[in-house]
């Protein structure tokens, strides 16, 4: 936290420097209009760049300004509109049209099925500042949201290219699915990984019930409304953006080298009470010991590049935008088997057929392919094996080794000799992570068509009533293909024809499956708006129908005689043990909804929403769920008594309450179902015919304060969210057999929190800057579970009433046993305790002199209590700078990798920390003895639970625009901007695992996020 403060202070002081401007002679006249409706913009600020001269436009938008003869550019700015720079080197009369700026007060915010002016919004709605987001240079829109919006927490559980990114809005509301709903051009989706960040015009986060309840049944985890860019009438714009960058791994733990490792295992053997000669002592003298730094061998610099070309423009009648993008990344693990590649093409067209009828389409086609590397976990766990593999084993076999082959030059079993006898092996027979990375061949591709076509017709004399029909399609074709070649040493296993093969992927095999999923969405809305005197009324009514059908087919074969890529097709596999399978599922949702807003005198506003949803996921008697909400706003600033406070520019109080739903469960969960296993039909799950919606009630109060013409803008929200009738999978007693849990409605979880967003901006000067800071807290509590499910017990976690979801639960480490007497005293109730001095001493919570399951307690919190982000950006002349800090606080992580790197009792490699392990009375009270016996490290305990709070400099970008050079406009180029960008430049954390951003309950050693350096160019024609 301290580091953040320092950076903040120094940046702010930098921004506050003032500048000298020199005055000259020459008159420029012109008008400033709003590009949206062509209306004149009064009180806009017009400044000649590089000069003192500055003027404010009149009520008709006109201005006249004296400048020096060599003045080349004017900068025009107005609150709520984009600042624009125009060329005056060859003209003295200009017409300036300003486009609305995103994220500001006058902005029109896209909310449910309609738009609303920011100033009149009564719910908790956050617009994402697209300018900040633009500079994130990441592949995934979700990733770019990190640190941008108060109460929106984005985390990546691994850093592998193309891996999934989690978004949580206002905490974890339920035990099941907590992902928000995305609405892209009016079409709902659960995924946004296919979108190119460059195609997005605006993003609005609907956080509270009043904002989101128009999306009813699927909105309980919040809604993010995304609108893609569209063309504007006028000159054709072409925007070309290219960047190229490298990534490198950071923050690796220091592992033991070969001689440290040998001493460690030698010591462990000695401490294990074995008799005879220590085999490691004699092995220390071996001549074939390597000294391999496995982490260093595994990671290499990664590489990414991105090209995006967008052309847009249009006439009064037709506007268009065409874009094409290409993104490619090769990750930081050696060999190119951890990559991600995406093409996307977009066509957005709007056409006015008559002055009442508009039609349009927003259509995207994308193709993405991920080279899937096992990025976390145990099997095969490329990263994990790099941590545990003894350094004494070389990466490659000696070419003179009889088991060496060019195809598989890698070492596998330690000091392998044929025939292998594992009982004589004294080293950990981990996998060779470099070999795992080399032989990984798992491609997951997705072809997607996503988009909509719509028609909108305006009725009544003043076009007050508009009817819109919008038809969306989401078509996904997935294809996963993994060829698992045989490799590794022959350990004598395998049966029949597989005898004699290497132990990995024995026999070789190909798994291939294809899936198809189609979602059709059709919504029809009627929108009415009317203002008369001091009254403003708007109303919305609509229906929506969504149907989804998915099917998949897969096959696998083994024992391919030819393994070259051109034979990696099912036909070429052996016919023994072949497998094929296929399945299908469908669901549908039908909804009716309405919304009404009334505003009086721009002071008092009230909005009411209502939605009814019927879902095929519930039995007929429980299909309908109803989701009402209401919100009120009081624009205090517009009251007469506020008029005297000149420094205040906005003050609004908001309050809302409402109900949201969740239906994210398996299809047909209300039915008892059978599964087929071989020839047998087995009960897979007993259905619950009474299953119904999970519902979330949310209350929100908020205050918006604008100061100094809204240059400083603060929003504060407090929310309480209560999720009840949680869709809870409840395991039946095992005495009914092995069945999947039945889903019931039970349990209640609350989330409470405060969100603060602060914006500072100054666009009026040559030296412009903005600060966007946000911070959010959330307190999560389980209020209620089912009587038959008093707690949900995970491997290291427990969910129980009175505690946050998935709290860490285990033994509490007290120290290290220093001597035998201490053990006897502490374990007075245990017969012949097997513990030895140097073992971990756990707290005997129930005081019975035994350490067992009854001595476990809550040992940490897996959900961050505080998350924050800080965006700073500034520009001076052609230079611009943007900085993003992001972090979380009040969170723990179970560092499962530490269990193996520090305390494991197998002959794994260990981190340098074990050099300080207990070695005689008084030597350590924190790190147990090195031993092959159980020193207590096998128990799930607080020793592995670490503070995973972090502060990260996520992004730093410096750009330079060449448009002040006169050559640029002459070439017909609007601007050329060059930039360098750095990601994850700096991290402050006490977490000792590979990445504090890992969100897995147990961090078993994930593919870490990398440090990236990018260079890019942006050309606007």
């Amino acid at each position: 936290m301290n580091a953040m403060k320092k950076v903040l202070v120094s940046l702010l002081s930098l921004l506050c420097c003032s500048l000298q401007i020199i005055a000259q002679q020459r008159t420029i006249t012109g008008t400033v209009t709003n590009s949206q409706d062509g209306s004149p913009v009064a009180a806009a600020s017009v400044t000649a760049i590089g000069e003192k001269a500055s003027v404010i436009t009149g009520s008709d938008g006109s201005f006249s300004l004296n400048v020096s003869p060599n003045a080349k550019q004017l900068q025009v700015s107005y609150i709520g509109l984009e600042t624009l720079t125009v060329d005056i080197s060859s003209t003295s009369v200009v017409t300036i049209s300003l486009a609305p700026a995103s994220g500001s007060l006058q902005d029109v915010v896209v909310v449910g099925y309609s738009t609303q002016k920011r100033t009149t919004i009564t719910g908790a709605v956050s617009s994402v500042n697209m300018k900040d987001l633009d500079q994130r240079r990441v592949a995934d829109v979700a990733q770019s949201l990190q640190g941008q919006v108060a109460g929106v927490q984005v985390s990546q559980s691994t850093g592998a290219p193309g891996d999934q990114i989690n978004i949580r809005i206002r905490g974890e509301g339920t035990i099941g699915n907590n992902s928000p709903l995305f609405i892209i051009d009016g079409i709902p989706s659960r995924d946004i990984s296919f979108l190119s960040p460059a195609d997005i015009q605006s993003m609005t986060v609907l956080k509270d019930a009043s904002a989101a309840s128009i999306y009813g049944s699927r909105a309980s985890a919040g809604v993010i409304v995304i609108t893609t860019k569209s063309g504007r009438k006028g000159k054709t714009n072409v925007d070309i953006n290219y960047f190229n960058g490298i990534q490198k791994v950071t923050n690796l733990p220091k592992m033991l080298n070969a001689s440290q490792y040998m001493s460690k295992v030698e010591e462990a053997w000695k401490n294990s009470g074995y008799t005879g000669t220590n085999p490691y002592t004699s092995d220390k003298g071996r001549s074939d010991l390597a000294n391999t730094d496995w982490l260093n061998e595994l990671f290499e610099p990664g590489h990414s590049q991105n090209l995006q070309v967008t052309a847009s423009g249009g006439t009064d009648k037709v506007q268009y935008l065409l874009s094409a993008g290409y993104y490619k990344q090769d990750g930081i693990v050696i060999y190119n088997n951890d990559g991600y590649e995406r093409f996307n093409f977009r066509t957005n067209i709007n056409a006015s057929i008559t002055d009442r009828l508009t039609i349009g389409t927003n259509l995207q086609f994308s193709s993405a392919e991920q080279d899937k590397l096992s990025s976390k976990g145990d099997a095969p766990g490329v990263i994990r094996h790099a941590l545990i593999r003894p350094p004494i084993i070389p990466v490659y076999k000696n070419t003179s080794d009889p088991t060496y082959s060019e195809r598989d030059p890698f070492t596998d079993l330690p000091f392998y000799k044929k025939p292998w006898d594992n009982s004589k092996n004294i080293y950990e027979f981990s996998s060779n992570p470099v070999a795992l990375a080399h032989f990984t061949n798992d491609k997951r591709s997705n072809l997607k068509t996503f988009g909509n076509i719509y028609a909108e017709y305006a009725f009544l004399r003043n076009k007050e009533l508009r009817f819109k029909t919008n038809l969306g399609v989401d078509l996904n074709l997935t294809h996963n293909k993994a060829f698992n070649p045989n490799f590794g040493d022959d350990d004598g296993g395998g049966s029949g024809v597989d005898r004699g093969l290497g132990r990995k992927n024995r026999p070789n095999g190909l798994d291939e499956n294809r899936g198809q999923e189609t979602t059709i969405t059709w919504n029809n809305t009627l929108n009415y708006s009317k203002s008369f005197n001091k009254h403003v009324i708007s109303a919305l009514a609509g229906s929506e129908f969504i149907t989804n059908r998915s099917s998949s087919i897969g096959a696998s074969r083994q024992r391919f005689e030819f393994t070259q890529e051109n034979f990696q097709y099912i036909d070429f596999g052996g016919t023994a043990n072949l497998y094929n399978g296929g399945s299908a599922a469908e669901w549908a949702l039908f909804s009716l909804f309405g919304s009404a807003t009334y505003m009086y005198d721009t002071k008092y506003m009230v909005t009411a929403n209502f939605r009814g949803d019927a879902s095929s996921r519930f039995a007929q008697n429980n299909q309908w769920g109803y989701f009402p909400s209401v919100s009120v706003g009081w624009k205090i600033y517009n009251e007469k008594f506020m008029q005297d406070i000149s420094w205040l520019s906005d003050l609004k109080f908001r309050a809302s309450t409402g109900k949201l739903g969740n239906q994210e469960i398996d299809n047909y969960a209300f039915l008892t179902l059978l599964r087929k296993s071989g020839d047998q039909f087995l009960i897979s799950r007993y259905g619950n015919p009474d299953l119904k919606w999970e519902s979330t009630t949310q209350h929100n109060v908020g205050l918006d304060i604008g100061v100094l013409r809204n240059k400083v803008y603060l929003s504060v929200d407090y929310f309480e969210k209560k999720t009840s009738d949680i869709l809870l999978p409840i395991s039946l007693p095992s005495l009914v057999g092995n069945v999947s849990p039945t889903i019931i409605n039970a349990g209640e979880v609350t989330n409470k929190g405060i969100e603060i967003a602060l914006n500072l901006s100054n666009n009026n000067r040559l030296f412009n800057y903005s600060v966007n800071a946000n911070v959010a807290t959330v307190i999560n509590r389980v209020q209620n579970l089912h009587p038959n499910l008093p707690s949900i017990i995970g491997d290291v976690s427990k969910t129980e009433v009175g505690h946050p979801l998935n709290s860490y639960f285990g033994y509490v480490m007290e120290g290290i046993y220093q001597n035998r007497a201490e053990i006897t005293r502490h374990l007075s109730g245990t017969t012949n305790p097997p513990n030895k001095p140097g073992d971990i001493r756990f707290k005997d919570i129930n005081g019975d002199g035994m350490i067992n399951d009854k001595d476990r307690d809550y040992i940490g919190n897996s959900i961050p209590k505080l998350s924050y982000g800080l965006n700073l950006s500034g520009g001076y002349k052609g230079f611009d700078l943007s900085v993003l800090f992001q972090g979380v606080d009040g969170v723990n992580r179970y560092n499962g990798a530490k269990q193996i790197t520090d305390y494991d009792s197998r002959p794994f490699n260990h981190s340098e920390r074990v050099l300080n392990s207990w070695n005689g009375e008084g030597s350590s009270n924190s790190i147990p003895r090195a031993t092959f016996n159980d020193n207590g490290s096998s128990k799930r305990s607080s020793i592995f639970v670490e503070d995973a709070s972090y502060l990260r400099l996520k992004n730093l970008e410096i750009g330079y625009s060449l448009n002040s050079f006169s050559a640029i406009p002459k070439l017909g180029i609007q601007n050329i901007r060059l930039y360098v960008s750095a990601q994850n430049l700096f991290t402050s954390t006490n977490y000792t695992g590979l990445d504090p951003e890992s969100t897995d309950i147990v961090d078993q050693g994930t593919y870490p996020q990398s440090q990236a350096f990018l260079f890019g160019i942006n050309v606007k024609l």
Partner: protein, 494 residues
């Protein structure tokens, strides 16, 4: 023009409403029990019987993928019967891997230990499958619809009656009073009404009733089906009846039943290891009931225990190794300490299958030597000492006269006959105890024997275990008590 749009708008809204019918479509890609019950096939009924066997298998991950945390990676007999006894330890070298097994072994466990959950889950899944098969085979509507012939129907029914009895036998021994389910559930709410423990006597009565129902339905032949020899035979039912009698000290019944078994053609093999050898499966005289593992099947049906055996799991204790008399050839067949290989479980006297998680070796449940020693025990208890000693000597004789692992002759004087003239009941019993331990080591008999003989505490305390009187029954899995909402009670002491 304008009115045309108005009409169109209304039409669109109304057609939107008509989409509602999509909500009531029948599920696709799934089967409900109704569909099977209303339209059964011979194959679904036959396979329901086959699937009832599966929970006796050593195949890995039958109930999940690597769920060590639930104790269901493999069937836990080896943990609950062998590691808990004084015969077997978790690993050749002690370490912190799967420490819950150590907790069972040292009797430092609590009711949350997954070993109990695992065994309970396997047994009740077996019962659930058996109940489903029984419900098909006893429903005249179904049997007539599929046109099954009586001989086949009777045989299949007998198989599942036996299996249900077998699973309950395991439960009642491990846990005492247990929930007694004899019908498939109709809905998930039934799960809670069924979740209550019945007295041991009721469970034993159910076991006896099922076995009594099974016995007359099976042919009087060595195998009930000559192509699928792994199926439950009359011999298996009679042997189980003998075992039930033994565990309830009904000595005369034990004698009668084992005698009947001998009449069905079961006898000791000439060579001890023929019981375990993959090459001799269903081609020997002694095995009465075993699970037939096959390699390379889809879905898998191999013996997966060879994988943990390769990871260093399942090793003999010193006490077990010391129990063998000098030159007893059974020791080398059971375990090779230098090679860290448990041959009995690997199905071969070499390590070809070690590490193969899809090995062909069968899992042995009942064999004739075991049954003969029951009979010996029964004779001893009813005072017929000469016959008791004769049976013990019969087992010893086979051990010393068969070929040894290295095909050598056993030295003269090895495993001498016990004194046939002895009338010292305690001495004969100690001979019997010794003989059972060395003959049946690693076959998941030892802990039950110690409990039956009421010497578990004395024997296990002597090897440093924390055994207490209440450990005669294992705890009901804590999760099961929680999941029932407390209608299932815990055993005393836990």
């Amino acid at each position: 023009m304008k009115s045309a749009y108005k009409v169109l708008a209304v039409v669109l809204i109304l057609s939107g409403l008509s989409c509602k019918k999509e909500l009531y479509k029948d599920p696709i890609g799934l089967l409900t029990p109704d569909q099977i019950n209303t339209d059964p096939t011979l194959n679904t009924v036959r396979s329901s019987v086959t699937s009832s066997y599966q929970m006796l298998a050593n195949t890995l991950n039958l109930l999940g993928e690597w769920r060590w945390d639930l104790g269901i990676v493999f069937r836990n007999d080896i943990i609950l019967q062998d590691m808990a006894s004084d015969d077997v330890k978790k690993k050749w070298n002690p370490d912190g891997d799967q420490a819950w097994m150590d907790d069972v072994s040292t009797f430092n466990f609590t009711s949350s230990n997954q070993a109990f959950n695992g065994q309970w889950s396997y047994d009740y899944e077996g019962i659930s499958r058996s109940n489903l098969a029984i419900s098909y085979l006893t429903d005249p509507a179904i049997t007539s619809k599929i046109g099954i012939d009586d001989a086949l129907k009777n045989r299949l029914l007998a198989e599942v009656y036996f299996l249900r009895a077998f699973y309950y036998f395991d439960l009642v021994n491990n846990f005492g009073d247990v929930a007694l389910l004899t019908k498939p559930l109709q809905s998930f709410a039934d799960a809670y009404s069924a979740a209550k423990r019945e007295s041991k006597d009721k469970v034993w009565a159910q076991i006896s009733a099922d076995l009594a129902l099974a016995k007359p339905l099976l042919p009087n032949t060595r195998y009930s089906d000559n192509t699928e020899k792994w199926r439950v035979s009359k011999g298996a039912v009679v042997a189980m009846q003998a075992k039930v009698a033994l565990y309830n000290q009904k000595w005369q019944e034990v004698v009668t039943a084992v005698t009947e078994l001998e009449g069905l053609g079961f006898a000791l093999n000439a060579n001890y290891f023929d019981n375990f050898s993959v090459t001799k499966e269903f081609n020997e005289n002694e095995v009465i009931f075993a699970y037939d593992h096959k390699t390379g099947m889809t879905p898998r049906n191999g013996n997966g225990l060879s994988a943990p055996l390769d990871w260093g799991f399942i090793a003999p204790t010193t006490s077990f190794l010391n129990e063998f008399e000098p030159n007893d050839p059974r020791l080398s067949y059971t375990v090779d300490v230098s090679k860290k290989a448990v041959y009995k479980l690997l199905g071969a006297t070499n390590i070809v299958y070690k590490g193969n998680d899809d090995a062909p070796g069968n899992k042995l449940y009942i064999r004739m030597a075991d049954a003969l020693l029951w009979k010996a025990e029964a004779y001893n208890e009813i005072g017929n000492f000469p016959l008791a000693i004769a049976l013990i000597n019969k087992v010893r004789e086979r051990a010393r006269t068969g070929i040894t692992i290295d095909s050598s002759m056993v030295p003269a004087g090895t495993l001498p006959d016990r004194n046939v003239g002895s009338t010292d009941k305690a001495q004969i019993k100690s001979w019997l105890m010794h003989e059972r331990r060395v003959e049946l080591g690693f076959e998941s008999q030892r802990f039950n024997d110690l409990k039956r003989w009421k010497i578990a505490k004395e024997v296990l305390m002597a090897v440093g275990k924390n055994f207490k009187d209440f450990n005669y029954y294992y705890p009901i899995p804590q999760g099961e008590i929680d999941k029932s909402g407390g209608t299932i009670s815990q055993n005393t002491g836990y």
